[in-house]
Symmetry: C2
Subunit: 344 residues, 2 copies
């Protein structure tokens, strides 16, 4: 088959690769119908050295079940399925608590499984991982359904971990797909005031469509000052951080109200950060978040996607073929595209 590999920063190639096969009786093989390039793919795309490559790419996909291991039940060949970006058994103590990303039988797609920016992919723990979709689903819904694999579930995780509630005030940092879907999620959970920090007007316009009440284009101290001006000087109760760089964390510290919550879903590109009396501790600010256990959220989020109540797939603004995937990376890296969909 054909599959996408990152060789080093800036060097993405689509090449021949072995067809995925069942390795465990709990595996499935899924033929990929749609996959995506993720904002988190851009981190290695910008920094990975040749010594760490080549690595298979892609962790968001939906497709049809092609092969099933002997221990997988509840699925049939030909089923249309969507997969969370982290596979999991969905039966262990962590999965039962909704923390599928910490499942001892689980892991992240791509390294180890092969990537999803490919014709097909091996799915470990298929029974716990794959979620069946209606077979006759309108293909116009596929982009929105695919966001359940990662970016919508991740935006929801940010809002969920911050315990966003009706009437709440929320700042969202970052106008990438996850940030915009954090806006949608905060709105869906009833937030009244949603300040979106982002610099790209086409994206922040979509953010307004999703429910942002205010947009702050400034960054750093100036951006913090604008958020404080908008909120009576104190900041918002929740800050959803969907970038992952230290300056975004620092903006979150400035934008959060005393007693509030910073919920991070941008993968941190730093290890240490301020947590002392002058940052988190003094004002009793809570820091939460992490990789989203999106499997735990699909059941809750799917109906609204199917009935059109929400349209998270609007974040997709470019579609490429699998062979054009390197161009998709370039477009996202240059911010010419917000979210790139990959078709076979």
């Amino acid at each position: 088959m054909r599959a996408t590999y990152l060789y080093e920063a800036g060097d993405v190639r689509v090449q021949d690769a072995p067809d995925p096969v069942l390795e465990q009786p709990t595996d499935a093989v899924v033929r990929v119908l749609r996959s995506c390039v993720c904002g988190s793919d851009l981190h290695p795309y910008r920094t990975m050295t040749a010594a760490d490559g080549p690595v298979p790419m892609g962790h968001e996909f939906l497709g049809t079940v092609e092969e099933l291991g002997s221990e997988v039940s509840g699925l049939e060949r030909g089923d249309l399925v969507v997969a969370p970006f982290a596979f999991a058994d969905n039966t262990c103590a962590f999965c039962r608590e909704g923390l599928h990303t910490s499942c001892p039988d689980g892991g992240f797609f791509a390294a180890g499984t092969g990537g999803a920016q490919a014709e097909a992919i091996r799915v470990p723990q298929a029974q716990g991982t794959l979620v069946k979709l209606p077979k006759d689903v309108d293909h116009a819904l596929l982009p929105s359904l695919l966001t359940l694999a990662d970016v919508y579930g991740t935006g929801h995780h940010a809002a969920h971990q911050a315990r966003v509630r009706p009437g709440d005030s929320v700042t969202v940092i970052g106008d990438g797909a996850v940030g915009l879907l954090a806006v949608l999620s905060a709105r869906r959970l009833g937030a009244e005031r949603i300040i979106l920090m982002g610099r790209h007007k086409d994206r922040t316009d979509l953010g307004r469509f999703f429910g942002a009440t205010d947009v702050v284009a400034a960054r750093g101290e100036e951006g913090i000052a604008e958020v404080r001006d908008l909120t009576g000087g104190h900041g918002t109760r929740a800050v959803l951080e969907a970038v992952g760089h230290l300056p975004a964390y620092e903006m979150a510290l400035g934008a959060v109200r005393p007693g509030g919550v910073i919920s991070r879903v941008g993968v941190p590109q730093y290890d240490d950060a301020p947590v002392g009396f002058g940052s988190l501790f003094g004002p009793n600010v809570t820091l939460t978040g992490g990789p989203a256990p999106v499997r735990a959220y699909i059941d809750e989020l799917l109906p609204g996607v199917l009935d059109g109540t929400v349209e998270p797939g609007r974040v997709v603004d470019r579609t490429v073929t699998l062979e054009q995937t390197p161009e998709g990376y370039r477009a996202m890296d240059r911010r010419e595209a917000l979210k790139v969909l990959v078709t076979p």
Copy 2:
């Protein structure tokens, strides 16, 4: 009057000082009946330079109202009152949310107000700050009632912010007064498994009395390994950190279960700490805590103290007169005393 001042690390003096007077119509003056030396007083006692001194000391007290400003209602001269270590108006938006430590009209006792390790103290925002106690209260209860000013409320804050619930598993780091009362608080909120990390047997024995089910004397990697051994390899859902030094934070990272909460009430003696993928983010660990808004908790905690259901005053293991306060500091610094009570 006589009052306690810290001149520099190790140099505590009791000396003559001006009698406190009403400065604002919202002030009161309270004659101190009991005060304490706090674990947090040991931080400046160990590190403060002469350039920063002398500073008045003491932020935990109960006593009788001696003078009242013209705008204070609900209190009378002679009332027995306890004060939270942070004064607050108890009417602003933050106070109504239970975050008295962020009250714009509030602040911390000692600098600005004079210290509580003294014969008397000025209390700003007296109406919002002071809580009346029964006039005929048994004096044997005074140590327990005084813990409502700080250490019991702070231990409760740790457990409350970690949302400790019936059946929960909790690790408490630190066997000082706050750590031991975090044990009591976790037990009171229904925690089933409470692992106390501490090295002083007399203290950890009191921790067992308060509800600790296990004691881990080892520290660092060895201590973490013991906690993990006790918890099926994963750690406890909540970790209450009552020390404030970076190694305690690092132990908390090792002792917390994925998806769990680290709740800090030890005043951090560091600014930056690990918060990246390998520490907080990857396992979706939440970091919370801060200075305890103990005023918010007194109404909930007072009845159990008055009826003897809990005996937080058991942390007091030495009583000194005001003139002996420097000896109280020395005893706590050398860990010869757990918690020193100061009488007039």
